[in-house]
Amino acid sequence: MKAPGGSPEEALTIAQLTNAAKEVLEGAFPPIWIKGEVSNFTAHRNGHWYFSLRDATAQLSCVVWSRDTKRIPAPPDEGMAVMAHGQLGVYAARGQMQFMVRAMEAEGEGLWRKAYEKTKAALEKDGLLDPSRKRALPRFPRRVAVITSPDGAALHDIISVIQRRNPGVEIIVIAAAVQGETAPDSLVAALDRLARWNDADVVIVGRGGGSREDLWAFNDERVARAIAASPIPTISAVGHEVDFTIADLVADFRAATPSAAAEAAVPVLDDIVAGIRGLGDSIRAAAELRVRDAGFTLRQISRDLGVRSLRSVERRRSRVQQLAARLETLSPLATLARGYAVALNEKGGALPSAAQFKPGMHFAMEMRDGRVHATADDVIVRPAAKPARKGAA
């Protein structure tokens, strides 16, 4: 019996050969890391990435299936030096050797940096990184929401710091996956639940320290947008001091660690109590001062009033005296006292003019010390003196 392909009669089909080659190649090479320079990169609309990896003398076709692209922070740039992990195989339709990439890294964290910058630029374009968007944290939160892994050290730290600072504050935990492929969706869902519930004063979103890959969900654009959309002020707390994520850029407050986030969120109860007591003291003191001032003013006014009324009595008295003196000089009694008399008709009216008399008329004479009744004997009226001409004094 002849071997397959050993004679024209036993010729293999192309499919048979390439399938055999594929099996041989896959059997010979377990998943491995390879390195090279990226060229002819294409992100196809079906979601797969196609490119070549090459060096000075050789090149290899590579593909990243769309489901695997999610594990890679960003598509590589043309010419970028990368390390790719995957399986060597054969693409039968083209009769080509092909490397199926499952994971990729670039020199100097190039892909992470690129993805970070890309997300940052997208958020910046929508104004989500504008410093004026940052809201002040509530000064006296009563209910703090925490979005993190329910069994991480971060949650433990946050709870113990909050309870130490103010045991009266309520802590509402919204569990979320904080690493792995499900983390972005899980964080977005938690933020969305919190937004719909909308019954907390502030939210802490975060996790403890970890590798760059562990923290990557906090660089996810959707997570960043969900944080930006939060109706309540947000505090990001991702990893350690040195870890800076997109979530930190978009949150209202960036805490270096989960414990620091708890400190930022919750003021110390004793400080609040002292503050309230101080406010009470200061309004009491201010009110007392007011009342004392008012009392002082009142006494001042009553004193002034006393002085003023005393003065006005004196003024009136001296006025009365002046008037009395004037009255004295004008009084006919004074004239009579000097020895003059005034003639009065029967009704007591004064008769100052001779023309008012007729011979035989009865009248009275009012004297200093009594009255004399008399009868007119003769009446001589002097002709009136010519009135002085006006202007001639």
């Binding site: 709870i159 309870q163 201010a286």
Partner: protein
């Protein structure tokens, strides 16, 4: 009024009371309001019951908070 609003009003009152352009009557009215706010805020502080709870969303979209025994 929330605790925070009470305290903010209290701070406003404290600032207003030291101003000179208030009549005694206005000052006393403010003082009375301040004392009321002070009482409300202090009562609020003692009323607080700290707890750690989980937010749970039921199938019909209704939220509830369920206490956990996680005390930090």
């Amino acid at each position: 009024m929330t605790f925070e609003e009470n305290l903010e009003r209290l701070e406003q009152i404290a600032t207003s009371l030291v101003r000179d352009d208030l009549s005694l009557e206005q000052a006393l009215t403010l003082f009375e309001e301040g004392i009321a706010k002070l009482k409300a805020a202090s009562a609020e502080l003692t009323k607080a019951e700290g707890r750690v709870a989980k937010l749970v969303e039921k199938a019909d979209g209704v939220f509830e908070t369920v206490d956990t025994d996680d005390r930090g």
